[in-house]
């Protein structure tokens, strides 16, 4: 039984803990997302994230890497509160976006998710036309002007590098597109909401190399205007497209640094072992 619940229990720890200072390598960046002592539990026995303190810079691509089940996706889903959908899950600590706690009761969930878009591992276009898929977000968020919607369709599809391929069949079913095209449509659909942040949960893991290449190109284009957080299993991909990389292990943030440094000279031995393929 799939159950989706809106409410999630947030408890703040009683004893004050020291929040680590900003990392030196991020000194010149504007921080958009920040977590403070974030602990996440799927249920009291499943402690999925342990004391995560992470800072994610503006208009950069940040990659989360780590073995399966290390909590990358869980962390990503804390940023747009998609974890709220899991019955019985709860968290402690804070998730700040632009300095505001997203788990504050004053935050409107729909507003947050419009601002923090998400692209899923498996492309999930709606069984509607391509045009309807792109306009879904703007429409549910109250945009009704025909011209405005049309403009959003064109610009979003162009940004997602899909316009050339589908401009003649906007009213065809989105399900008739190829896997790669479907995933780029999902990106376009997210862009249509004009978000500030885009979360990508292994967006290319189910695609062939050519489609993956296109997605990566798209991400490279997008980082000029958006803050992108991407979860990936593919370390080459992380190396190719990200500016910063965070390595996670068993629910803990092991190390975060510039991608170059992580892949050439990591501080922690475990990171090096993982990157060189000694485990994972």
């Amino acid at each position: 039984m799939v159950n989706i619940q809106e409410d999630i229990a947030v408890t703040t720890p009683t004893e004050p803990q020291e929040i680590p200072a900003a990392k030196p390598f991020l000194a010149n960046e504007r921080i958009v997302i920040e977590t403070q002592r974030l602990d996440f539990y799927y249920n009291p026995e499943a402690h999925a994230l342990k004391n995560i303190n992470i800072q994610i810079p503006d208009k950069k691509v940040t990659a989360f890497i780590g073995p399966s089940g290390c909590g990358k996706s869980t962390l990503l889903r804390c940023f747009n509160r998609m974890n709220d959908l899991i019955a019985g899950a709860y968290l402690t600590g804070k998730v700040l976006i632009d300095g505001e706690d997203v788990y504050d009761s004053k935050i409107r969930l729909e507003e947050l998710r419009k601002n923090v878009g998400m692209v899923f591992q498996k492309s999930n276009p709606f069984p509607m036309t391509i045009r309807e898929n792109v306009t879904f977000g703007p429409k549910v968020n109250g945009i009704t002007g025909k011209d405005e919607l049309e403009e959003i369709v064109v610009s979003s599809l162009k940004q997602a590098d899909l316009w050339r391929e589908v401009k003649d069949r906007l009213d065809a079913s989105a399900l008739d597109l190829s896997g790669g095209q479907q995933q780029r449509l999902c990106i376009a659909r997210t862009l249509a909401n004009k978000p500030e942040i885009i979360l990508m949960d292994e967006p290319a893991s189910a695609l062939d190399p050519i489609s993956t290449g296109k997605i990566e190109e798209t991400i490279n284009e997008l980082k000029k205007d958006y803050t992108i957080v991407i979860v990936t299993h593919n370390m080459q991909q992380a190396a190719r497209i990200s500016d910063y990389t965070a390595f996670m292990m068993l629910g803990e943030m092991v190390e975060m640094d510039s991608t170059k440094r992580i892949f050439t000279n990591p501080t922690v031995k475990m990171t090096e072992d993982y990157i060189t393929g000694r485990f994972g």
Binding site: I4, N80, L112, N124, F136, N141, L175, N193
Partner: protein, 551 residues
């Protein structure tokens, strides 16, 4: 050896065989019942040849061959010996008192198919089998020696039908003319028995009403008189058109042609003529009103009642069931309470339908209908309007009965919506309701329609709850007609399922009505199948539209 046995067990051949056998038995039974219904139901309209049988007892019978069987007879020593006997439909119920007779085959001395034997289908007393002796049409008369007696009979028949039609029109005109007076008189008599009628004010009002009634009576008196005279004249003319007919036994009888539905000489008809006749009878069956306490004529009111009731039921049950399923599945917190609700809904499907009928009677008719009468139709009381069985209450009772089916099917449809699609909608900033409306509901539509199909199948075949919530043996008016407000939800209605029960088991002449039962059953099956095909067609179109993403 043991290896071979164990391989045999592994393959599970006996179990596969048993499951196949189960399917064969089930299919066989379905095929058998459909074949029986088809053959009996469809052969009913075929005009049978008339056979004239003379027995050794010097009795002569004319009729249609109906059945043949072996009867058991005891001989002198008490041994059972089989005797062949033939069942003959001899009709002429007004003369013989019964429609059928059994004749021992060994007693038959002569068997013939007389060319000029005629079958008369009458409005009353069933069929008449015999020979035309004379035609009387007003002043004209033709005897048995006239060369074209049958043609003359047909002419007279047409004339009689015309007169009958004119009579009906005249009668309608008379009713229409006196309608305001009748209504006024009804109001007077209602006021007389009510407490207000005994107050001074009421008495004064009564006096006024009586005066206006008298005035009205005088106003229409002349026109009414004229119509009455016209009616009487037409009636006499109509009675003047009749045939003298003779039975096989030689008995003569006057047969008024206005009472004859149709007549024909089956022994002279070729296959083509018989097919034409068959088509006409089939059309009469689906398009006409029933006659002879439903054992003859058509079943149109029952078809109409069944279809309207099923439609009303669908309109009531689908939104209700879908909303319940959505709340249960998408909003309610899953836990012991939702489990309990789900279990109760499933168990509701197992409650005997008559219990739903009793509930419908108590709640819908007595409570809701009674309250509506008190509030809106108090001027008609004590005569109930909605406080008695009617098509609305029957439909709502059946909606209640089929609700579990719709809820369960819709829930399954909702569960089949990919979680990825739901998450995708929420991640784009839609509210839960927007997600349900735009993503979940369109995707779940095939499931909802499956529920509707199951509900239609169940609802259309249900009889027991209808019997106490508004179905009747004969409804004079349809639930939908051309008089305002067009849809009369308070009216009683006829239903094919109840028709089967009524004709087959409650009719005074069960033997003659038996083929009608098969035909009605066939029709009910055809209607349910048709309604289902429509729903399945819509569902398949939707499925094509929402085929899940291929990856």
């Amino acid at each position: 050896m043991s290896r071979r046995i164990s391989y045999f067990k592994q393959k599970g051949d006996p179990y596969i065989f048993a499951s196949g056998l189960g399917l064969v038995v089930a299919l066989g039974m379905v095929t058998w019942i459909i074949a029986v219904i088809l053959s009996r139901g469809l052969s009913f309209f075929w005009p049978g040849d008339l056979v004239q049988i003379t027995t050794s007892g010097d009795e002569t019978y004319l009729g249609e061959l109906w059945a043949q069987e072996d009867a058991i007879q005891l001989d002198a020593d008490g041994h059972k010996i089989p005797v062949k006997q033939t069942q003959l439909k001899i009709g002429n119920r007004d003369l013989y008192g019964m429609d059928f007779t059994w004749i021992r085959d060994k007693n038959i001395t002569e068997q013939a198919y007389p060319e000029n034997a005629v079958t008369f289908e009458r409005l009353e007393y069933g069929n008449f089998y015999g020979f035309i002796e004379a035609v009387h049409s007003g002043d004209e008369q033709y005897g048995a020696d006239h060369p074209e007696l049958y043609t003359k009979a047909r002419q007279a028949y047409r004339l009689a039908r015309e007169k009958r039609e004119q009579l009906r029109e005249t009668q309608e005109a008379m009713t229409e003319l006196s309608e305001p007076l009748t209504r006024l008189q009804r109001e007077i008599s209602l006021l007389e028995i009510s407490p207000e009628g005994r107050t001074d004010e009421g008495l004064q009002q009564l006096e006024e009403m009586r005066r206006s009634a008298e005035q009205l009576e005088q106003e229409i008196a002349d026109a009414y008189q004229a119509l009455t005279e016209k009616y009487e004249k037409l009636y006499l003319e109509e009675r003047g058109i009749y045939l003298t007919v003779r039975t096989a036994a030689g008995e003569e009888k006057e047969l008024h042609l206005s009472e004859v539905v149709r007549f024909f000489r089956p022994n002279q008809m070729g296959v083509f003529a018989k097919s034409w006749h068959y088509a006409g009878k089939l059309w009469e069956f689906v398009a006409d009103d029933p006659r002879e306490s439903n054992t003859e004529g058509g079943v149109f009111p029952a078809i109409f009642g069944t279809v309207v009731m099923v439609l009303l039921m669908s309109i009531a049950v689908v939104p209700f069931g879908v909303m319940a399923a959505i709340y249960l599945n998408e909003y309610a917190r899953q836990g012991p309470v939702t489990r309990l609700i789900r279990m109760s809904v499933n168990n509701l499907a197992g409650v005997p339908s008559i219990v739903f009928g009793v509930f419908g009677l108590g709640f819908f008719i007595y409570f809701v209908g009674g309250s509506i009468d008190q509030l809106f139709f108090s001027n008609k009381l004590p005569e109930p309007t909605f406080g008695t069985g009617g098509i609305l209450w029957a439909s709502l009772t059946l909606a209640l009965l089929t609700l579990p089916v719709v809820v369960v099917a819709t829930e399954e449809g909702l569960l089949a919506v990919p979680r990825a699609n739901k998450e995708g909608a929420l991640a784009l900033g839609s509210t839960r309701w927007q997600m349900i409306r735009k993503v979940v509901l369109p995707n779940a539509m095939p499931g909802i329609l499956t529920g509707l199909i199951l509900a239609i199948s169940r609802g259309a075949g249900e009889v027991a709850p209808l019997m106490i919530t508004g179905v009747v043996k004969l409804a004079p008016t349809l639930a939908l007609d051309t008089t305002f407000p067009f849809l009369h939800l308070d009216r009683k209605f006829m239903h094919l399922g109840f028709h089967i029960y009524d004709v087959g088991f409650q009719s005074p002449n069960v033997e003659a009505a038996k083929p009608m039962v098969y035909s009605t059953a066939l029709l009910l099956i055809v209607i349910v199948v048709l309604l289902n095909i429509i729903a399945i067609y819509i569902r398949n179109n939707l499925r094509k539209k929402f085929k899940t993403s291929t990856f």
